[in-house]
Symmetry: C2
Subunit: 182 residues, 2 copies
């Protein structure tokens, strides 16, 4: 078998991340054109829009897992793990948004991937809390919410050209722990 099939499938997924990320209502024709493949080829690899959305979401989850796992490999504390995970996740923020999208949320695999992701983050935050990183009277759910939204904020800075990914990650982590006061 030629390897063009896997190649075009990857092209479609990458183009779909771009096109559907910027405009979730874009047509599959737009996605196929952006991928440089025929519309029929897209339908050969994905049954339809829903199938494509599920594939995108699962790949986003996979990429996030891989990036975070690699990044936190050398960390000795959970707090430091959160710091480097934020740095690793920030450039993938636009893909991470697919996880939170309701679109493919009905698929059981997607639901499981999202739940696993949230559960892992919650667990690490609880562990970091035990290390004394967070105030005792702040709910864990708020910490999770803050963590994710600061990642988006950082990525917005990068997209706006106001910061490099690492600068944005440092700003986000500093704000996460200390806030903006002098």
């Amino acid at each position: 078998m030629r390897d063009t099939s896997v190649s075009s499938k990857v092209s479609i997924l990458n183009a779909a991340f771009d096109v559907l990320g910027q405009n979730p209502g874009a047509s599959l024709s737009d996605v196929a054109r952006a991928a440089g493949v025929g519309r029929a080829t897209l339908h050969r690899h994905f049954a339809g829009r829903d199938d494509l959305m599920v594939a995108l979401t699962l790949q986003a989850a996979e990429e996030l897992d891989a990036a975070v796992d690699t990044a936190v490999a050398g960390c000795t504390t959970y707090t430091d793990g959160l710091r480097v995970a934020l740095r690793a996740m920030l450039p993938l923020a636009s893909r991470h948004m697919f996880l939170a999208t309701d679109a493919a949320q009905t698929d059981p695999r997607v639901k499981e991937a999202y739940a696993t992701q949230t559960r892992a983050l919650t667990r690490d935050i609880e562990a970091a809390r035990a290390e004394g990183t967070f105030a005792a009277d702040i709910p864990t759910t708020w910490i999770v919410e803050t963590y994710e939204n600061l990642i988006y904020a950082g990525w917005a800075m990068v997209v706006a050209g106001e910061a490099t990914p690492n600068q944005a990650a440092d700003l986000a982590w500093r704000t996460f722990t200390q806030g903006l006061k002098p």
Copy 2:
């Protein structure tokens, strides 16, 4: 003139905030049904989807302005103004999102409303910075980004039933200024 016309127009706008806020790709039939009016009536009040989006965005901007203006009336410092403005904006977060949507961004009135909103927030943050509220080495653009994202985070807490609007606003403001550390 009977007042039913303004009534149904308001119904449509409110339903559109809900329906299109939750699913931007929803059809105008869905909006009309949620508003409890016929599809034809929707077209009588709004020329089409674009027109409706513009109306939603302008009303969101207007509501935000009014809420913030009322809230900050008695504030003596810009820093305190930011604090109470956050509290006032948080319950309107789902409508504020329409301002950031690219959908109606081509309309000049929408562009102006969005630019005015951002400019006012930037100005107030600069003024609060002069009051010593923010560290000198943090860019104003990042402060703006953080402010808006913490509002969304707070609203997410409210939607999830994890906090009341005021509790969420307090958490957001505390995180904004001091971060999450003990």
